[in-house]
Amino acid sequence: MAGKTLYDKLWDAHVVRDNGDGTALLYIDRHLVHEVTSPQAFEGLRLAGRKPWRVDANLAVPDHNVPTTDRSKGIKDPVSRIQVETLDSNCTEFGITEFRMTDIRQGIVHVIGPEQGATLPGMTVVCGDSHTSTHGAFGALAHGIGTSEVEHVLASECLVQKKSRTMLVSVDGKVGTGVTAKDIVLAIIGRIGTAGGTGYAIEFGGEAIRNLSMEGRMTVCNMAIEAGARAGMVAVDDKTIEYVKGRPYSPKAGQWEAAVAAWRDLHSDGDAEFDTVVRLDASTIQPQVTWGTSPEMVVAVGDKVPNPAEEGDAVKSDGMQRALAYMGLEANTPITEISIDKVFIGSCTNSRIEDIRAAAVIARGRKVADNIKLAMVVPGSGLIKQQAEQEGLDKIFIEAGFEWREPGCSMCLAMNADRLEPGERCASTSNRNFEGRQGQGGRTHLVSPAMAAAAAVSGHFVDVRDF
């Protein structure tokens, strides 16, 4: 019999019961909660007269609606304010720990889980947010859920699940200088497509993934959903354990050794069989820039905007034409000739300390180009902001002409005041270039933090390796 994949091990450890109809009741160790997808779930609990099954498994934070400017005056938009206040009152009513807007621990839910040690290897982690796949970087089974399932987890600490198929994406060899986790994952999505991982749990492996820091692995797993896979994961190694050690929610001294011993098994067995295996040669991956309205519409920075006329599939060609019209681009335009209006460095994909450092290296001693209306850096959490300031990174950005903001989801999806105006073009370190995502009519190009900073100081896309 073949060995087990990491996904098999995580699944097997969490089955409460086999329902006998192709589904299992799966136990959830950690439930992360934010203000957008939870109010209707709490209301459902109240209407049914139910209580949370296990209060201490939940951790809540407002992130989507919070302003990234001065917070002392609260939230200006009354509709956003009510949603955040509703989270506050629900957490108070049900006794759930919440890092409120003015707490230094507040931040993007997928940043603070790992930062606090609330995300641990071997856990099942869910949240009413598709980018929950981020937490799989710790050898955890983590995926996004809808509000009905948020209510289900609150009420029972379980989910009814059908087992996914398994896919190994192996990125073999080493990446070149200037090529980051973001470029790796965009290249993967470019290869397998935005629906390539539908129905699968993806394990990312290979030398290039093992060489990534935990921050880099989080970036890769974060975008598993943009390849269609609800869950992405990476095997546990020394880096994982080192990262987790000493965090507020991590196992304490008496339990640490046993936990580490258990975590050492969180990898796919050598003889495990995956349903699908995809291999990429890391040395061929270049810095990536998306040109269209789906993350799979991506090319290397040295390439040109593709031509729909050269696409054989009629539905795809039609989609490419629509994307070019929306993006205001001509086929065959060199990527480096596309000038931009705004720059956004942040989001659950790229707002960790390593991302901010990478952008600061480029920004140091340079100035944001004259044609850039706004270049903003939004740290993923209050603690990351504090650390960056201790390292003097805020001063580098401010001197270069960037705005240095308070933590939150910000212009990744523009639920707060940070957004693109119609027709504005943005170099963004976020995860989705969908129509209207960063503001109605806004045009998003997804890039790495270093590529975004390089675009900010150049006014157009450039190859960061030329810096």
Binding site: L25, Q83, S130, G146, A195, P251, Q255, G319, G436
Partner: protein, 211 residues
């Protein structure tokens, strides 16, 4: 959840791949703390020419006459045919809430995004995956015939066309059972409360740091 058994209704086409949940219901409407009232803002950025915000009187807004669902022939449609990877992107359940509130009970496409697929069934919307060629033929049929209707029967797993021809479809048994009976998932799960507690006790022994 409202159960679904059988529906004969007008079909509307959404002829583009990778329709994402940001398009289905834009982010500004996610600020609502309710489950209802999203229908008038379904596909808001495609459907109207002006910018929509929560609290606006949508009946006073500028309709985009070119948007497919605004065409008179598709008014009252309750079945949507779509292309690959419908519902990709965000996990927002507001997407199926908006589709349902607008009136859609059935969506037929070659493929759906995983989270959207799950969310839809939990709200009584039947999603049917068919081969791309069959969907392509449906697009042609709908285009050619004003008032085109399909008769969808969940119990028999069949779609009957106006000419009497039948397309068969498959749905996971557990989804079919819950949808046919309008069952509440949480109630079903809590029937197994003792097993959940037993699991927790066992797990506390194996991995006490998780508790």
């Amino acid at each position: 959840m409202e159960k679904f058994t059988q529906l004969k209704a007008i079909v509307a086409p959404m002829d583009r791949p990778n329709v994402d949940t940001d398009a289905i219901i834009p982010k500004q409407f996610l600020k609502s703390i309710k489950r209802s009232g999203f229908g008038p803002n379904l596909f808001d950025e495609w459907r109207y020419l002006d910018h929509g915000e929560p609290g606006m009187d949508n009946s006073q807004r500028q309709i985009n006459p070119d948007f497919i669902l605004n065409q008179p022939r598709y008014q009252g449609a309750q079945i949507l045919i779509a292309r690959e990877n419908f519902g990709c992107g965000s996990s927002r359940e507001h997407a199926p809430w908006a589709l349902l509130d607008y009136g859609f009970r059935v969506i037929i496409a070659p493929s759906f995004a995983d989270i959207f697929y799950n969310n839809s069934f939990k709200n009584g919307i039947l999603l049917i995956k068919l081969d791309a060629e069959l969907v392509e033929q449906l697009f042609k049929d709908v285009e050619a015939n004003t008032g085109y209707q399909l008769d969808v029967n969940l119990a028999t797993g069949t779609i009957t066309k106006p000419d009497g021809s039948v397309i068969r479809f498959e749905i996971d048994e557990f989804r079919k059972h819950r949808l046919l009976n309008g069952l509440d998932d949480i109630g079903l799960t809590l029937q197994h409360a003792d097993e959940i507690k037993a699991y927790e006790e066992k797990r506390k022994q194996q991995a006490p740091w998780l508790f």
